[in-house]
């Protein structure tokens, strides 16, 4: 324990004041005013003090926004508020661009927050990534479920080691299922009830446009939906059932998985060496006790759902545009047919009918000929 007594006596120089005080040359760097102007720490004051335009070399001036170029005459009126903001913004960016490359270069490293806010995609699944995320660590050998034997590589330091090739293969398949269901417009429910899983579950469900659950599953929410969900005071809507459930800790949520089995809802779950792989439709053999591994897997599934959803939305937009164009064309054709019918009934000259010109289409030509011959026949005109 080291107590730096010396610093407590002379700390005002470096600590305790605003950060900009420590770099008094900030204004001199991008300001063309003289360095003699004292810096008063009011750089970020808005709006600037009225009526003070500091000429170069004069007494302590106001914020630098109002005294930029030495060529500006002392008589010029202070800049408008918007102009000041624009100049300061430009200066700020110039400063950032010049100083951004200074300082330590930090190598790419593991950033826990990045795993949650910007997780990797299904195409980024590698064995090295799963290993670094501690997805291969199973439980003590005495606690295993023998049904998991095919996913276990071996034993090391008293625990089972999950085969990462199995993990990668099952995770890719689960991602494909999630992407497919999302593309079909299915409702996906992300469930993670352990502490620390809330954020990643919410993010994944947001990407999928589905639902999330990070607190205890109310038993009967599927099998007894009418009583559990529809009779709560604020929920007046009809309860829906998910089309796919992704569960990050199946051991604790066995009731939810049982209900899904009863109602034929497919499930995806992270199966550790002590969990039963038959509880879920698509098991992902991996470590469910490491937050990093769980966040990685949930993030990847969320990204897969996002991709499926984006594809569905784009296709829907494209199809609606095509449908509109088609409908417009059909409406125009209908209008033309209607006009022809009116012409036939009202004995109008066909050439005056809109869109009835010689457009070169064979079908229309023959139709035109047919209608003309009918008209002539009715009137008794010669051909």
């Amino acid at each position: 324990m080291i107590i730096r007594q010396a610093l407590s006596r002379k700390s005002q120089l470096f600590l305790g004041s605003s950060p900009l005080r420590a770099i008094p040359s900030i204004r001199c760097f991008f300001c063309t005013t003289s360095a003699a102007q004292q810096y008063d720490g009011s750089y970020y004051q808005y709006p600037p003090p009225q009526g003070q335009v500091g000429a170069p070399g004069s007494e302590p001036g106001p914020s630098p926004g109002s005294s930029h170029s030495p060529s500006s005459s002392p008589d010029s009126s202070p800049l408008s508020y918007a102009e000041q903001i624009r100049r300061d913004w430009k200066q700020y960016h110039q400063f950032q661009n010049t100083t951004a490359d200074l300082g330590t270069r930090i190598d790419p490293h593991y950033q826990p927050s990045r795993l949650v806010r910007s997780p990797p995609r299904p195409r980024d699944i590698t064995l090295e990534l799963l290993l670094a995320s501690q997805a291969h660590l199973g439980h003590a050998t005495s606690l295993w479920n023998p049904a998991n034997q095919r996913y276990i590589l071996g034993v090391r330091q008293g625990i089972h080691i999950i085969s990462l090739e199995a993990t990668a293969a099952h995770l890719r398949r689960a991602a494909k299922i999630v992407e497919g269901v999302s593309e079909k417009g299915g409702l996906i429910l992300f469930v993670g009830t352990r502490p620390g899983q809330e954020q990643v579950v919410v993010n994944a469900s947001g990407r999928a446009g589905g639902c999330h659950l990070f607190e205890r599953w109310t038993p009967g929410a599927i099998t007894n939906a009418k009583q559990i969900l529809e009779q709560t005071p604020h929920e007046a809507r009809k309860a829906v059932k998910p089309d796919l459930v992704v569960c990050l800790n199946p051991l604790e949520n066995y009731v939810l998985l049982h209900e899904c089995g009863l109602y034929a809802i497919p499930t995806i779950g992270i199966i550790d060496t002590d969990a039963d792989p038959t509880w879920v439709t698509y098991p992902i053999p991996a470590n469910d006790d490491s937050l990093r591994a769980v966040q990685l897997i949930c993030g990847i599934l969320g990204r897969a759902a996002e991709e499926g959803r984006t594809r569905r939305i784009r296709r829907a937009v494209r199809e609606s545009a095509e449908r509109e164009a088609r409908e417009a064309a059909e409406a125009a054709a209908e209008a033309r047919v209607q006009a022809v019918k009116e012409a036939m009934a009202g004995d109008m000259d066909l050439d005056l009918v809109e869109g009835w010109g010689d457009d070169g289409e064979g079908e229309n030509r023959s139709r035109r000929e047919r209608v003309r011959s009918k008209l002539r026949a009715r009137e008794g005109r010669p051909k």
Binding site: M1, I2, I3, R4, Q5, A6, D107, P108, H109, Y110, T126, L127, E128, L129, L130, L131, A132, T141, P146, A147, Q149, R150, I152, L153, G154, V155, R156, H160, I161, S163, R173, K176, I177, G180, V181, K184, G185, G186, L187, D243, L244, Y254, L257, H258, C260, G261, L262, A264, I265, P266, T267, D276, P277, T278, W279, V280, T281, Y282, P283
Partner: protein, 255 residues
């Protein structure tokens, strides 16, 4: 809860429901799951073989359960070297170990011709990896020789670290740092406290024995007087104990 078969049969169940008319339209997941059906199998395959096949011991095989499907111990050639190193240097196990990895590709950039690697702590593991590098690069070196070369380099580096720590302490003291109690001070204090407690209890025990002895021989009535006598004797005992021996903690100077 036991084995569940319904999750694996969702597609068949949904098909039956559609046939019977219980479901009017296909669920959103129906075709997706149909295209990629679940493949969970409860049949156990042979595990990955880590050790060569052993001849079957017929005497044991008659009674014992088969280990054929049991996952095997994962063993690396470095494990023998690790056992040797940590047997010789048990206090290296007391050093904290960082097992955090970035993306799993750190090992690709390591050059084990030296002990120190950027981004990696100096550890017993560095010694073993350098030893392996020496063995792989020089075919005439024995394991023992490579081990001696690696561990002596390791001692040099640890010595450097110790010197750096000592210099850092001196520099800190020179600019006015005040260090709290050292481990020695804390240990001596605790020892002194334990001895003091023992002294107090011993005095109380002595007084009690004295009282019992007196009670065995005297004919006076026992009661509050006797209890007060015992307490007084105990207090007397602690006082004498305190005056006899000076406190141990005061003897140690703060470094």
């Amino acid at each position: 809860m036991g084995r569940q078969l319904r999750p694996l049969r969702v597609h068949q169940i949904a098909s039956k429901m559609l046939e019977s008319g219980r479901l009017q339209e296909e669920p959103a997941w129906y075709r997706v799951v149909g295209a990629m059906p679940p493949t969970t199998s409860l049949v156990r395959p042979l595990p990955v073989r880590m050790r060569p096949l052993q001849p079957v011991n017929t005497k044991r095989a008659k009674k014992a359960k088969s280990n054929t499907f049991r996952p095997q111990e994962i063993v690396y050639p470095e494990d023998k070297l690790r056992t040797q190193f940590y047997k010789d240097h048990p206090w290296e196990l007391a050093r904290p170990r960082v097992v955090l990895e970035n993306d799993g590709n750190d090992h690709k950039n390591y050059d084990w011709s030296q002990l120190r690697q950027p981004g990696r702590q100096l550890d017993g593991e560095s010694v073993i990896q350098h030893q392996l590098w020496l063995l792989n690069s020089n075919p005439y070196l024995t394991t023992r020789q490579a081990y001696d070369i690696a561990r002596k380099k390791f001692y040099q580096l640890r010595l450097q670290e110790d010197i750096e720590r000592r210099i850092a302490t001196e520099e800190a003291l020179a600019v006015g740092a005040v260090f709290d109690k050292s481990y020695f001070d804390i240990v001596f204090e605790r020892e002194g406290q334990v001895l003091q407690d023992w002294k107090t209890k011993a005095a109380q025990d002595l007084a009690l024995r004295k009282h019992k002895r007196n009670a065995a021989y005297s004919s006076t009535s026992l009661g509050e007087d006797a209890a007060a006598q015992v307490e007084g004797a105990a207090a007397e005992g602690t006082e004498t104990a305190e005056t006899d021996v000076p406190p141990v903690a005061a003897a140690v100077a703060v470094g």
